[in-house]
Amino acid sequence: MNYAEMSRAELKAEQEQCLHEYYNFKARGLKLDMSRGKPSEGQIKEVLGMLDVMNSKTAYKTEEGINVLNYGCPDGLPECKQFFGDILGVPAEKVFVGGNSSLSLMFDYIMLCYAKGASETSKPWIMQGDVKFLCPSPGYDRHFAICEYLGIKMIPVRMTETGPDMDQVEALVRDPLVKGMFCVPKYSNPTGITYSDETVKRLAKMETADDFRIIWDNAYCIHDLFGREDKLLEMLGECETAGNPNRAVEFCSTSKISFSGSGIAALAANAENLARIKNYYARMTIGYDKANQFRHVLYFRDLKGIKDHMAILSDIISPRFEVVLGALESQLSGLGIAKWSSPNGGYFISLDVMPGCATRVYELCKEGGVKLTNVGATFPYGKDPEDSNIRIAPTFPSLEELSDATELLVISVKLAALEKLLGEGKTQI
């Protein structure tokens, strides 16, 4: 029954029941963590074979005779560029292979634009005044942390079922001080939304400052679940078609495919942006870890190989999503106090509770033994204006732990809503 339709007495009775369940749960003394999108042990075990593909007997030269253990190829092994090109659907010559973190590639790129300008003809962002970034929210907290660190003003943009609110985006980018925008276009973090074709085309086409750049963080480009796959238009091509070839730089990594701490990150960009990026990295490094690049290519071989591996990971991750989604559906559906995403891929489920209740849900879960992502982390400056969004990361805990954690989460969502509706303040727990 919808809580809004309940009498005060019925709400009180419901609260009594929920408190009883809550205390029972708390008495179990569990310590569970659903705070960050970390791969589980099972996922990591599935890729341990990668550690065996290179040893002292391996021919450490590529087909072109490149010694992977020596200097050279600062923009990545040709085989690895091809590998990432296939994953992203772009030609290999548009790819730059970096270290293990796409976040550091993004940081470097923003720093390049900030300190040296986004193009040969544009001023560094730092010299243009109080520059701004558009931040579709809820979004990825580590994106926001980059802007906060550099003092770039962040403007939240509402997320819709088809991606960021494009009316809002198109209006805001008319300000020439808006220099960029973060996008996680497929299985967006944390909402799981994949940008529609129309959204991608509008992003590619909209009128912006010449040195406006989209940080196209395609982190979950092949992270499909349940045997389903969302389709996303290829952004670099769309930008070229729209006459804005420099607009987007695309990023991805194998952090949630191979080893989260020892994967490979890559970026893709058009020729002009790429030349600028290579020029920047030429000062910084003589090249990234080619042995790891080689190992990845030897192990996964090609797009089919890595997709086959993702199917194995899907078999591990999908049941975890099902546990959470099943509990939310069975326990919260129809109560009118929460809504949640049901993504076809990615790493997160986004839960929106009643406005003003997210912090309370976080507190209740913490007190009960379950750690959630900090409330507000999914918004710029850590402030959720509605105090409503909770990011659920179901990949790391075991199925049993997840089932327990979700049970507590559901009770906490109900309790927080009941406290609000009854208007009697926080219940002593």
């Binding site: 074979g49 065996d52 593909v53 040893n55 002292s56 007997k57 021919a59 450490y60 030269k61 005779g65 010694n67 020596n70 200097y71 050279g72 190829c73 600062p74 544009s122 001023k123 730092i126 010299m127 243009q128 005044g129 701004k132 558009l134 003003k153 403007i155 939240p156 943009v157 509402r158 009316d167 809002q168 209006a171 805001l172 980018v173 008319r174 300000d175 020439p176 009128e207 912006t208 400052a209 010449d210 040195d211 030349a275 290579k278 020029n279 030429a282 000062r283 003589i286 030897l298 071989r301 190989g305 204006p385």
Partner: protein, 326 residues
């Protein structure tokens, strides 16, 4: 007019607050059109207002503060001292002309480069304590037994010409020279092999376990080596069959990931000497390679030649090369 959400001023006609992104109440499609018209149809320009002298000073001050902050938090005191005296504009404009593509053409095998690396290492590390690098017990410049030499009088190492890579060994009855694309391992590189394999230093020094020749083709990744095992030292090798079994076991390491097919054991004659021949094919979706091992009994030693190649024709060419004496 102010944003109802964050309180910052908003311009007439704006649909969304430029500070917090909130929709401005009362903003209509008409005002949107007006805003668009005001912005013009072309892409907004990044042209900036002229800055006041005060603002320029402030920015210069902030940049200087940032720079000093980076330097202080960054590297080391020496860098800091240098940074203060550097004209960064000049440095930056200088490196902007740097051609990234030149990097690919840089010859890292250049002697000067090697020398500079060695110099850097010697400045930064106490390499005297690093036996593997400086005090290699495998330095064959001595070309003979050390004081601890024990029971290997009958072994005579082959000689490799440092310039041409040509190998000659009366003991092994081999004399050949591989094509120019082949890199013949130096003494230091062979010492590294021993080290990687965990070979006891005295065993290597006393020629009980010997890589007499090791080379790789930089074009194909093909490899060939010549190895000797002292029979007393390798007492577990009762006969040549045991050696062959050990070689086969070692090759089966590949079987963890690839399909390994061994042909029936046979024999081959090189320069009039008869060897046992073990041949296998290593195949998988991403690799097809061949490993050929030739072994023979030299009395005090077992001799072992291994060829690893990615093409069967290459194996044939390498065998022809080894058989150069006919």
């Amino acid at each position: 007019m102010k944003c109802e959400y964050c309180g910052k001023p908003v311009k007439e006609g704006d649909q969304y607050c430029q500070n917090c992104g909130a929709k401005i109440k009362g903003a209509s499609a008409a005002s949107n059109t007006a805003a668009t018209a005001a912005a013009g149809t072309a892409a907004p320009k990044t042209e900036k207002k002229k800055m006041s002298p005060g603002k320029i000073i402030l920015i210069v001050f902030l940049c200087a503060t940032l720079l000093v902050g980076v330097v202080v938090g960054g590297i080391i005191a020496m860098f800091r001292a240098v940074a203060k005296s550097v004209d960064f504009d000049e440095v930056i404009s200088g490196i902007e002309d740097y051609d990234f593509d030149d990097f690919d053409d840089f010859d890292f095998s250049d002697d000067d480069y090697d020398d500079s690396i060695d110099k850097w290492f010697s400045q930064h590390f106490d390499t005297d304590d690093n036996d593997d690098i400086n005090d290699s017990p495998f330095d064959r410049s001595n070309n003979g037994p050390s004081d601890a030499y024990d029971g290997t009088e009958n072994f005579a190492p082959g000689k490799t010409d440092k310039k041409t890579g040509a190998y000659e060994s009366e003991y092994a009855n081999l004399a050949f020279q591989l094509p120019a694309s082949w890199h013949v391992f130096t003494d230091t590189e062979i010492a590294k092999l021993y080290s990687d394999e965990g070979v006891d230093k005295s065993a290597a020094n006393n020629k009980l376990y010997v890589y007499d020749f090791y080379a790789e083709d930089s074009l194909t990744g093909n490899m060939v080596y010549i190895k000797f095992y002292n029979k007393d030292y390798f007492s577990e090798y009762k006969d040549l069959t045991a050696v062959n079994d050990a070689i086969r076991d070692s090759a089966m390491e590949f079987a963890k990931r690839y399909k390994v097919d061994y042909a029936e054991d046979s024999s081959i004659t090189l320069n009039g000497e008869k060897y046992n021949q073990l041949a296998c094919r290593i195949s998988g979706e991403d690799v097809l390679a061949y490993q050929y091992d030739f072994t023979r009994d030299l009395g005090d030693y077992y001799m072992h030649i291994e060829i690893f190649a990615y093409d069967l024709d290459d194996v044939g060419e390498i065998i022809d090369t080894l058989n150069a004496k006919g």
